[in-house]
């Protein structure tokens, strides 16, 4: 199979050209094998910088085992796949564009937070108004709280299962036939 040059392949990837000849990304196992077999000849720029630093980040055992300096195999692998021509390029913005992006992102996050907060407050308000109504019923009805007690009674209420007629699919608009006022609860035999 003829393989394309990396530059060509990356271009094909960018422009989404469907290519049957496109070189498949080499399998992970093969790359692993190659990198593990290959002896690192020179320290990369990163390792060189680390060695010149006053503190070494090399593990003690790694330092002891290897005579020379070797780059971590995992780092090699990560670098390989990051810089592979078939890897989509990273999202790079200029300073201003990044800041604009950040601004929009923050505004969106803020907007969502405000919406959540509003929803929460609305739920709280509803709950509290219901509670207030109950309290009013208990104390202000003038019957010593009898009505309240009766209304709090759970007898004859669906506690475990609901009739299937109630389980209407939630829709954006009200149903065509509206409320069925004639419906009665089926008698339990």
């Amino acid at each position: 199979m003829k393989s394309l040059s990396p530059a060509l392949a990356s271009l094909a990837n960018v422009f989404r050209v469907p290519m049957s000849m496109a070189p498949a990304r080499p399998s992970v196992s093969r790359v692993c094998h190659e990198t593990l077999n290959r002896q690192q000849q020179k320290p990369g720029p990163v390792t060189a910088a680390l060695q010149s630093a006053s503190f070494s980040t090399t593990g003690a055992m790694a330092k002891r085992k290897s005579g020379g300096s070797t780059t971590d195999k995992r780092i090699t692998m990560i670098r390989y796949f990051l810089h592979h021509p078939l890897t989509p390029r990273p999202l790079r913005f200029s300073r201003n564009r990044y800041l604009r992006h950040w601004t929009i992102h923050r505004a969106w996050q803020l907007f969502q937070a405000q919406q959540r907060r509003k929803q929460e407050l609305e739920l709280m308000r509803q709950y509290q108004s219901m509670q207030e109504a109950c309290e009013e019923l208990r104390t202000g009805a003038g019957d010593g709280g009898k009505l309240f007690r009766v209304s709090m009674n759970k007898k004859g209420i669906f506690t475990d299962m609901f009739p299937i007629e109630y389980a209407r699919m939630q829709t954006e608009t009200p149903p065509a036939e509206g409320w069925n006022y004639d419906w009665k609860k089926p008698e339990r035999k």
Partner: protein, 417 residues
């Protein structure tokens, strides 16, 4: 026309067209978040001198002028293509850039900021009312104090929330131009410090056992950098004896408002004591009543006042030949309620350098808020330094003591086969 200029021309044309349409609307509604908006540089210097005489490093494109700039010591800013684009751009301020989504986002953020400012105002009034209440009205000393503290914390938080979404604040902070007197920049700096530098510091002082050896506990809340001369010393680095003959400079960045009085102590817990077969403590430097604030961070230990601050002057650290490395730990300790300590009394009392820092901490109610660390060991310059300071163990080196082996114990032969 240079190649780069030709390349950036279509882009510029495009930008200019959008600007002419977009600016008129944008001008009205855009406003910098902060009252102290970034001041636009007046183009006075460019009009005074022709460009080829004094080229601007952010605008220069021709290689000849670039070379001249480089010879003068200033590198051109950005790529040549970028500079060419900037030459012809309208140079619109960032907040007025005509991007629709961006401007809508700014509107949302500005509205939120207005809301936050209102909240701050109400919070201030409530705080003032709370503070003006007498103890009986507030329901006890303790309740009043806790309420006031909670309100102050909330107020600080609101101040940060008001500014945290401002892209210009972010940009200023990233450029290192943040004004540390403002809470938002302090907050950002603190967050950045905690992300990496504080972790490193805490790791060094705990792994090198400074924390249980010198002080029982320390939770660093101030960022400390140390310089010997011009060289910055990372926490735990080895410093040559020659370099540490003069007292270091400290850069102590606190992330809270207001001024603090701190005590600075440099302690070496590794002075070898051959007679006792153990290690001694030695205080290499002790100064009290050092004022620190978020904006004035530089403390030169050699320039502190002899008559009101320095209790024990700088003693250059030296490590005897063969001795294990010495850890010189720097501790920044906050004085209680930021009240000045009585310098004369301390100066009269603390004449010995052998007192441990734990004792000092207990007797003067100090609280460690910052730490740093460097190490010394025997090197080529140590001998000279020892002679200069009159170190009395200069002609002696330490060798490992012979360990007496355990007596040979003969096994019970009857149990052998």
């Amino acid at each position: 026309m240079a190649h780069c200029e030709r390349a950036s021309k279509p882009l510029l044309q495009c930008l200019r067209n959008t600007y002419s349409r977009g600016i008129a609307g944008a001008q009205l509604q855009t406003r910098a978040f902060q009252s102290t908006a970034s001041v636009r540089e007046p183009e006075a210097e460019t009009t005074n001198q022709p460009f080829h005489k004094a080229p601007d490093p952010s605008l220069v494109t021709s290689p000849r002028l670039e070379r001249r700039l480089l010879r003068q010591g200033t590198a051109p800013i950005g790529s040549r293509r970028r500079r060419a684009a900037l030459q012809d751009s309208a140079n619109i301020p960032f907040e007025q850039l005509p991007y629709q989504c961006f401007q809508e986002a700014r509107k949302v953020l500005l509205a939120d900021r207005e809301e936050k400012l209102k909240e701050i105002e109400t919070m201030r009034q409530r705080l003032a009312r709370q503070e003006s209440l007498s103890v009986e009205e507030a329901g006890g000393e303790k309740a009043k104090k806790s309420r006031v503290t909670a309100m102050q914390l909330h107020l600080e938080r609101l101040k940060i929330l008001a500014d945290i979404n401002d892209p210009l604040v972010k940009r200023n902070f990233e450029d290192g131009e943040g004004d540390m007197s403002k809470p938002i920049y302090r907050f950002l700096a603190d967050r950045k410090w905690r992300e990496y530098r504080r972790k490193i510091l805490v790791q060094r002082i705990t792994q090198m056992k400074v924390i249980p050896d010198v002080l029982p506990h320390c939770d660093p809340v101030v960022d400390t950098r140390m310089y010997f001369g011009k060289r910055q010393v990372q926490a735990g680095e080895f410093v040559e004896a020659r370099a540490s003959t003069s007292a270091p400079k400290l850069d102590i960045q606190i992330f809270e408002g207001g001024e603090k009085l701190v005590t600075i102590a440099i302690v070496d817990p590794d002075i070898p004591n051959v007679e006792a077969n153990s290690f001694d403590y030695k205080t290499h430097f002790l100064a009290v009543n050092v004022p620190i604030s978020a904006t004035s961070t530089k403390v030169d230990l050699s320039k502190l006042l002899e008559d009101s601050q320095v209790v024990l002057p700088w003693l250059p650290p030296v490590a005897q030949k063969g001795s294990p490395y010495h850890r010189l730990s720097v501790f920044i300790m906050e004085q209680k309620n930021s009240r000045p300590l009585n310098f004369e009394a301390i100066k009269a009392k603390e004449t010995s350098r052998d007192v441990t820092l734990r004792t000092l901490q207990a007797s003067y109610h100090l609280k460690a808020i910052g730490a740093h660390l460097f190490r010394t060991q025997w090197d080529d310059t140590t001998l000279e330094v020892m002679k200069e300071i009159g170190f009395n163990g200069a002609n002696v080196e330490l060798r490992r003591a012979r360990v007496e082996p355990l007596p040979y114990k003969r096994r019970n032969p009857s149990s052998f086969r």
